[in-house]
Every structure is written in structure tokens, then in C-alpha cells.
Symmetry: C2
Subunit: 267 residues, 2 copies
Amino acid sequence: MDDALKETLIATAHRAADAARPLTLASFRQADLATEDKGQGAFDPVTQADRDAETAIRAVLATARPDDAILGEELADSGGSSGLIWVIDPIDGTRGYISGTPTWGTLISVAEAEGPIFGLIDQPYIGERFAGGFGIARLDGPHGARALRCRTTATLAEATILTTFPEVGTSVEGAAFHALAQRCRLTRYGMDCYSYALLALGQVDLVVEAGLNAYDIQAPICVIEAAGGIVTDWRGGPAHQGGRVLAAANAQIHAAALGVLRDCADG
Amino acid sequence: MDDALKETLIATAHRAADAARPLTLASFRQADLATEDKGQGAFDPVTQADRDAETAIRAVLATARPDDAILGEELADSGGSSGLIWVIDPIDGTRGYISGTPTWGTLISVAEAEGPIFGLIDQPYIGERFAGGFGIARLDGPHGARALRCRTTATLAEATILTTFPEVGTSVEGAAFHALAQRCRLTRYGMDCYSYALLALGQVDLVVEAGLNAYDIQAPICVIEAAGGIVTDWRGGPAHQGGRVLAAANAQIHAAALGVLRDCADG
């Protein structure tokens, strides 16, 4: 891929994230967001914000990259002829979003057939954007810019592990997670996609989730790999289609975690 | 208490929080964050930033309010003759702090013998400050100022409940929490003192914790009560000395939660 195309993809991703920000922020922390199980046709402000933001992202992509395909959480897939596919989740972490926690994010990434090549994790309320791919591994935030680099933690006994829910998927998956967490120094919950940003930022060592979709993980994969980390499924295979995900700060801690998860997931 | 004294206390609290900010931020998200084990077998990290920030807060208080007493997390209590006591925690949520999550806070409050009367929850990284007491119930943050007001959620079935750790204190306390959480619509973890700010902001309905110290809860009590919420222990008594804490958005949801917690805690 030539540099001009890379520059175009980078700029397009940022413009798409910029376009989504006012739409996700407009509903964040507004009254009466936290309603669920709505009847058909009932107004759902979270879903509406989600769709509005995805529509804005798609409008940017349609103009800048009309021949690329799009896979989004909210709207129908759109095909393309370029061989590139944008994978987007306008509000990843809707439970965090409706609880007012600034742990949700807008995930935007672009992939080739082999997997994602550039991605952003954007947290509009804090004003943080984590970018990874094409030689970029960078946070821009309220306290300036910073290079992303995963930690060198080598053993589980020194590791901080994150996941969103203590339940972590099915009961077998939950048992596997807890078997791993038990061997780690510190376990923390509730960070939604912000967990992956913290891994790339060198703040934590492992993020373990299950039941993910492609649009939940492709942007994080770009950001983490750009920072030197590794993202696979629980058997060490590719994770960009979602499912069970193990994100690790480096090869050594990845291998240690994989040893535990692989055993348990088989049980 | 006359208005001039209230104004002085408010201004002093803000100056103290301002003084702490650069010191807590200086170490946040830095590599090799120094931690030490306080003993008692538990993992309880303390950073030099914690002590430096408390020293800075105490310097502000010593100048502005030399006759007030001080109770802080890190340094020895200091006595006073005014009848007022400042209760401070420079970094509440040290586990969040060392994990890079912007869920820790600087807690600063001032109390009379009967309990706290004005308090701040400050989140330096996001740049949010939640203030409550003396007729103030206000967030100042990166997207402007906003009045704090708790929600009107009336039933557990509609409620969002927060706590920091799924374990929630002892096994009896944990069982009580989970009995309550089971009846709620959504349970979220990991927010440290930011949970209390979200309650005052009308984003969640219940925060339940155990094993707290006075300096963990007095500032949150001020902020939540100023926003119309209620904070008690698990039997409905005063919570400002810490221990088991139930913070609720309003009287109705408080009563519903208390019914569950009181039963279970006795079991």
C-alpha cells in the first residue's frame, strides 16, 4: 500500500471520528437514557445516538472512500470494490454510556482481507483519541500527545488484568477468566473498550473478553499491535472476527495467559 | 455558620484541590509507578504522589484555616480548636490510579461534629470537579458547568447499581450486595469514588460499598446530599465514619435497597 493511500485512510478515520463526536456527546449524560426493553417503535435515545453517529461516520466514508466496504454495528453492511473494509462501532460500551462512565468509545478501523490495518479508539467526553497502525501509535488527549507503548510485564504474578463484566460470557468462559485472574496481581472491571486503550498505554497487562463482534475488536487490535502488544483468540489464533479475545502487553505475558485460558476453555 | 465562613471554607477547599492536582497528575500513567505494600496481606498500593498531594493540601489548610483539625489518609491527624475538621483523601482509588483509569479522585471535605458540611470530588485527569454543600451542587468539567441532581428512579427493577469490586468486603457483605444487585436492572463495577459523582450527576441510582474509612465517604456524602440523594450505612444510620455504605438517588430507592441489605447483613 502506498503512502498516499495510507495518509488518506488515516485522515479519513480521523474525520469520521470527528464527525461522530458531537452526536455521541449530545446524548451522553442526558436525562432518561437508561431505559431498556422498549416496545417496538418506542424512542430509544441511546440507539438513536448510536445510529446518528454511525450515519455521520458513513457519510464521511462515502465521500472520501466511496469504493470501500463498511461493516457497522447499527446499520446494514455496505459492499465495496476496493478490497478495503471499514469496521465501525459508533458507541462501543453502551452500558457504560447509559451509566455516565467515560469508558465507552467510538471505534473506527479499516481492514484488508487479512485483518485490520489502522484504527482509532476515540473517547469523546474525556477528549482522548488512541490511534494505531501505519507506524502510528499515539494518544492525543487533554494533557497533550503521547506515544503508546505496551508494558514489559513478564509474569502473571505481576500483571493487572481487565475485563468488563465479572460474568465474562458463558459459565465456562467465566471460569476460564477467573482461573487466569486468580493468578494475576490485580483484577479490575467495568472499563468497556477503554480497557484496550489502557493496555496500549502501558497501564495494564491483559484484557480478556468473550462474545465480541468484529466491530468491537478490530480498532483495538490496531491500537494494541501498534503499541507492541498482541491480540489473539483464546487459542492463539486471529481475533479480528471477535469471539473470545485475549489482548496482552507482550509475547511473554500473552503466552502465560494463553496457557491458562486454553486449558480452561477446553474443560 | 455565617456566610463569610462558608465562603472561606468553599474557597479553601477549591484551593486545596487545585494544589493537589499537579502532584497527582505528575505520577498518573507514568512508568514504574512506585507502590508499596501497607501490610495486612492485602495488595494496597500507595504512591509518593499520594503523600505529596496530601502535604500540599495540608499546606493550604494550615495557611487558610490554622485552627481547624485535619484527618487525612496518608499522614498523622492534626488537632484543632475551631470545631471544624477537614477530612481528605488525596488519591481515593489507588488501584484505579495505578491501572491508568480516570476513576480515582481527590476527596476534600470539611465537617462539624455532626458530620460533613461541604465537600469536593476532584478528577484531575478528566478535569472534573464535583462540589456539594452550602447550597452548591455543581459539576465543573471539560464540557462546562452543570447542576448536580440525583435521579427519581423508584424501583430496584429500574435501577443501575455500582460498586468497585465484585467481592465487596467480607463474604457476608458480598452476599448482601449480590442479593441487591440481582434485583437491579444493571450492575457495573470498577468506578472507585467516581461512582458517587455519577450518582450525584443523575447517571446511576445506587452505590454500595463496604470497609470504607471516613476519608473515603465524607466528601461523597456532601456531594450526593447536595444533589438530593441519601447516604447511610446498611442499617439506615449515619455513614460518615465509613464502614458499610449505601448511597441512593432518593428516599424511595434508598428504602428499597435498605430492605435487602439490612436483611442480608443480619444473616
